[in-house]
Symmetry: C2
Subunit: 418 residues, 2 copies
């Protein structure tokens, strides 16, 4: 079969399975997730064996140690993946939930019931654990999923999906609930992105280049997240100790993730008191600081920040620092250079806290807390499928609910329109 | 200025206004809507004069009487448009509402606050009242709107938007909140659909061809509604009188709209009792009936229905009728031929009512009520911007809330991630 036919065949099967998946009870879905978790552990010997092929290939291709580490399957990582499936089983099922109902003057009782989106296309890079995670979240939310992983992990992904499909068979759920595009040819992605009659949503996970390429080519709606240029604004009357702790956490705890701080804005009235100690602590932690002119007058050792730095997502131990005259200037800076991801204000001032929360329209806005909380688990969504920095359908961390939509359900007793 | 520059200029101004529009209080927005309503009534003489140009052009082009009627502005229609603006002013403001907040174990208080989408592109045909309606709904929900009306109403649309912009000026709201693409050149639509950095959502309103063309060309998310092939299933133990009344209402009250019934499914066990009287009533009302073979054995006068009839959106006094063996066959028929718009079951059977509500995943599903209730006003949304038959972001009738999204707001007191 040519690639176009292969992809169409997979999409057709997914579409065909979607209606019956939408009707599965929570008990059956949770039972399947447990069976899947057990099967992965049972087959861990086989999975580790197959994974060796990906590792061998990665060594040949000269991938970085960090990338190779992310590919590894061993007893421990497989147990982690299995635990992830059990965690998803333990989450509340969004499907069938009715958030509210209301009575119309004519007696109609109207509600909005959650239903699955249908078929999700998941496009991602490297890590094989994403294969099982995404499959579990889509199954729990009643969706069929078409997985397209990176070529680095293709052997592992094929083996994992085979184990998951065997578990589905045992629990009498259509195998087409979880499918993997078997070829690593890039044409398959292109073909997938044209099938808007079959696939309801595309979720790409990976670098900005991957995501931009998917958006450009897709006829299907894409939930996207280009980058996270997250800001913290230390207000004039911030508690300095709180500000040191939060800023350090936001920059240093895990600098390579999208919710790490990239630019620190400091009110001019607190800058002389706050910045020297903050800079010292950052430098002790190995952070390279890039400051505006005013900041460099206070801490002369800093590199100068240029216009590009305000747009930069370093994903590294590098931080841009700017002194601002007011909360207005801080908000304007965020509007101009931000990525709509996550911003935090550190302040004791009630009015400024409220202004920041109301006026900054990024997907997550915090008062007196680290930007690192912008995460589905941390916010209490139970799981995270991704983070959206565009506003349609979902904005910010996405949980199971964001893989569903609502239909109107109406109980009548003979009403007609007049 | 060439067309590309014109459109870019408008889009740039809209984007620039979006942040300040998002912050307007409900009082200011409602005041502006009232000023706009007064201004339209004050300027009705001028509007009627300008409208005459569109009517003259329509006569020259030989448009149908029905189309010309929809173009007419007179004292009465202008009063109706002004009343529409006041109705929007009276609706609750979705912006700033926090549906729920929850406490995390670490003390963070997390909520989801409604915010505007930003910039809405509205593409529509003929009727000039849509110009004011769409402008009002976008303003109330804090969005900037770029209007692109049909060439038939271009003089009226220009005059209406000018009146609205003057009212905005009086109330110190940026004029760029409501803009009209001044040219009728089709290239302007194409240019508009490429500006995904400026426009957050495209809402097309009009025929299926217009909508398909917009979807095909757009880089911006489109909320779409191709057609409404709405079904009523008369179950074996439906109350016949209730079924007659509802079916008649759903087909005959306003056959040209998307929520009118297009196919009637009848359980075989009630068909002999129900169909002859139902057919007689429909025929008295001038409805042409097209039946399956079984239906034609009961009412021989019907035309035969072929495969195309099950897919047809007649938008006219024509109805397809099919006898089914079971509720399963009814649901399968709806899945195969339906458009995900609106379906209703008429039944006294509790279990079948629940099955139909749970298993039919169209955007509106009713028990014992007319499909004609699938409408934003009728369902209590207060207004209707459109109906979506695709699942992302909105599914079914859309009100003001569907022109917003939510951001996460988080109140902390020093929390960091560990």
């Amino acid at each position: 079969m040519d690639i176009k036919s292969q992809v169409l065949n997979i999409a057709g099967k997914a579409r065909g399975a979607a209606n019956s998946l939408a009707r599965l009870s929570s008990d059956i879905k949770n039972g399947a997730l447990k069976t899947m978790a057990d099967a992965l552990v049972d087959q861990s010997g086989h999975l580790i064996e197959v994974n060796a092929k990906d590792l061998e290939q990665a060594e040949k291709l000269g991938l970085s140690r960090a990338m190779i580490d992310r590919l590894v399957l061993n007893e421990k990582t497989i147990a982690g993946i299995a635990k992830g499936l059990l965690d998803v089983a333990a989450l509340p099922d969004p499907v069938g939930a009715v958030a509210k109902m209301w009575r119309r003057p004519n007696g109609l009782l109207v509600g909005r019931m959650r239903i699955p989106l249908g078929v999700i296309g998941f496009i991602y890079e490297s890590r094989p654990n994403v294969t099982a995670d995404a499959a579990a979240l889509c199954l729990k939310s009643g969706n069929a999923v078409i997985l397209r992983g990176g070529s680095e992990a293709i052997h592992s992904n094929r083996a994992i999906v085979q184990v998951l499909q065997e578990a589905l068979q045992k629990t009498h759920i259509p195998e087409a609930a979880i499918q993997l595009i078997q070829t690593t040819d890039r044409q398959a992605v292109h073909e997938m992105l044209q099938l808007d009659e079959y696939i309801d949503l595309i979720i790409p996970r990976g670098g900005e280049d991957l995501i931009r390429a998917v958006v450009k080519d897709s006829k299907i709606p894409v939930i996207k997240h280009y980058k996270g240029v997250c800001h913290i604004f230390v207000d004039a009357d911030a508690d300095p100790e709180m500000a040191y702790t939060i800023c350090m956490n936001a920059k240093v705890q895990r600098p390579g993730v999208c919710n790490a701080m990239e630019t620190l804005l400091i009110h001019k009235n607190i800058a002389k008191e706050f910045l020297p100690t903050m800079a010292e602590r950052f430098q002790e932690a190995g952070v390279t600081l890039k400051g505006c002119e005013k900041a460099r007058k206070i801490v002369p050792g800093m590199e100068p920040a240029n216009e590009d730095d305000w747009y930069a997502e370093y994903l590294d131990l590098v931080l841009a620092i700017r002194i601002v005259d007011s909360i207005d200037e801080a908000i304007t800076h965020i509007e101009q250079y931000g990525s709509l991801h996550t911003e935090s204000i550190i302040t004791k001032d009630y009015a400024n806290a409220q202004r920041f929360l109301n006026e900054v329209n990024s997907s997550t806005v915090l008062v007196n807390a680290s930007t690192r909380f912008s995460d589905g688990f941390e916010l209490g969504l139970g799981a995270e499928i991704g983070i959206s920095t565009t506003k349609l359908h979902a904005f910010g961390p996405m949980g199971l609910e964001e893989l569903t939509t609502t239909k109107f359900i109406i109980y009548g007793n003979g009403q007609v329109r007049t």
